[in-house]
């Protein structure tokens, strides 16, 4: 039996662990086109700020890889032939498979404006991108950041940490408008300004200006020009579905899979950022770009590839991130609509966050410590916890485990409710009685 896994990200490595846990002798071949193999991609943000070194981003030791006993090929897969059950590799060789996992992740949607190919126009997808940014980010230089979501701020924070002057250009009127509410956006913007970032709303780049092949500035739609030494962008990501598409697998925004992570070809599975996963609880197929779901999906796909019939039950999407230095937890469904600064999904993002059904908002805290709850009929549907993270873990459980909150619903929705106290009391009571 040969298992082939395309992609060396967390979904791929988890699949290897799952397969090896059951099948001690089957051959596992991992194929990846990132020269650095498996590393923490979210950790790239902390590499930019200097909180971690690049060698610290690699979670596994040589011994741990040896125990998993798999073949690693640093190849790009060019084509899947589902009839012959072979993969065409970039060194012209063919590799046959019995079971295949596509865990190819997603790529940063490129800028399409003139000048986007100039030296100094940068994204943050891979370790090599982060290294490139660090090479450019010299103290005293000026950078323009465009885009939205978490990665745009990670770029901003990383550049600030390196002593670069940052101008953050937003097409819309506030930051991350389809996940944060207006108050939360303003908190983040205020902190960015306090850190020295110059914010420009309703500002869209029409052209990136260059000299001798290098960025020197931008021209905006309204005709203004601005000088800069580099431009970093994060305008959304797109699942890498090209292989699946040319192999005629069912796709939508990502590769469509059932709850067993299986595509419409029973020998081909997909997991992680590339997979659009069916959720039996909601009947929807959604994309996430989150580390833990990618890990869980990879693991479940691996188990199913070895013949365990294990459904993947989608967990409530959660991210803990820093927005302008403020720790923020986002859980469940918290927003909706479109954000002018992003195309589709972003890194560290979930489509579920924008599937807000009927829910009433309860909120408290008006400085940096803020909690916003999305209160459904008997359950909490989502939460945003900014600053003080005391409530983050209990809310994660209350939302994920769908704990009935009808006893505190009125209390939460009361004008000037002390939400933190209500939740703490409820949680302690729940622990004692459950």
């Amino acid at each position: 039996m040969r298992y082939a896994i395309i992609g060396t990200g967390v979904a791929g490595i988890s699949a290897v662990e799952a397969i090896r846990g059951v099948d001690r002798s089957g051959e596992i071949v991992m194929l990846g086109d990132d020269p650095h193999g498996y590393y923490s991609r979210p950790g790239l943000a902390y590499l930019l700020t200097g909180e971690v070194q690049d060698k610290s981003l690699f979670p596994k030791t040589r011994e741990e890889y040896a125990k998993l006993n798999f073949v690693y090929k640093k190849n790009r897969v060019l084509e899947i032939d589902r009839t012959a059950k072979t993969l065409q590799l970039d060194d012209r060789s063919l590799l046959s498979y019995d079971k295949l996992l596509i865990a190819t992740g997603a790529f940063a949607i490129p800028l399409t404006v003139p000048g986007a190919n100039l030296q100094g126009v940068m994204k943050l997808d891979h370790l090599e991108d982060a290294r490139g940014i660090l090479k450019h980010a010299k103290r005293g230089r000026t950078a323009i950041v465009v885009g939205g979501g978490i990665t745009a701020l990670e770029l901003t924070e990383g550049l600030l940490a390196r002593g670069v002057h940052v101008h953050y250009l937003l097409r819309g009127t506030r930051y991350w408008s389809n996940v944060l509410d207006e108050h939360e956006s303003r908190i983040v913007e205020g902190r960015l300004q306090a850190e020295g970032v110059t914010l420009h709303f309703r500002s869209e780049v029409q052209e990136i200006l260059g000299r001798s092949g290098k960025v020197i500035g931008v021209r905006l739609l309204d005709g203004r020009t601005m000088k800069c030494d580099m431009l970093a962008y994060a305008v959304g990501i797109k699942p890498r579905i090209d292989l699946a598409q040319s192999a005629d697998l069912a796709i939508d925004r990502g590769i469509l899979v059932n709850e067993y992570l299986q595509t419409n070809d029973p020998d081909v599975y997909a997991a992680g950022d590339v997979a659009q996963v069916y959720d039996p609880l909601t009947g929807r197929s959604v994309l996430d770009s989150l580390w833990s779901p990618a890990r869980e999906q990879g693991y479940a796909a691996g188990l199913n590839m070895v013949g365990k019939h294990k459904p993947y039950i989608k967990t409530v999407p959660l991210n803990v991130t820093r927005l302008a230095g403020l720790t923020t937890t986002i859980i469940g469904a918290v927003g909706n609509g479109r954000d002018e600064d992003l195309v589709g999904i972003a890194r560290g993002d979930s489509e579920t966050w924008r599937q807000l059904p009927d829910a009433i908002v309860a909120q408290s805290g008006f400085d940096i410590n803020r909690v916003r709850l999305l209160v459904g009929e008997n359950h909490l549907i989502g939460a945003v916890v900014m600053g003080d993270q005391k409530l983050s873990a209990p809310l994660q459980k209350i939302i994920a485990e769908k704990i009935n909150i009808s006893s505190i619903r009125d209390g939460l929705l009361r004008k000037d409710a002390k939400i933190a106290d209500v939740i703490v009391d409820f949680w302690l009571h729940h622990l004692v009685t459950s």
Binding site: S40, Y46, E51
Partner: protein
């Protein structure tokens, strides 16, 4: 998780030094390695987080560096049952 520990993510080092250990919430962890990078005695805290295991390492000083530096609230101190029994 014991009630005593629920909201005490940063129990002081003094209380935990002899009777506590660091416990991860794997679901929050993105394996960035900040914990390992800051561990003064090079314990593979991240590996524990991956496996969802408490850092029951004989050499752990419970200095709290990993707990404090983790940007995602993955790690917390948990007191051992022994302590809870004697406290209650």
């Amino acid at each position: 998780m014991s009630i005593l520990n629920v909201f005490k993510t940063n129990a002081s080092r003094r209380t935990t030094a002899s009777v506590g250990y660091v416990v991860p919430d794997s679901y929050r962890c993105v394996q960035c390695g900040i914990c390992n990078y800051n561990c003064p005695i090079n314990i593979d805290v991240r590996g524990h987080a991956w496996r969802g295991e408490p850092v029951k390492h004989s050499e752990c000083l419970t200095c709290g560096e990993c707990v404090a530096r983790c940007p995602r609230g993955v790690l917390r101190f948990e007191l051992t049952d022994l302590f809870i029994e004697s406290a209650s």
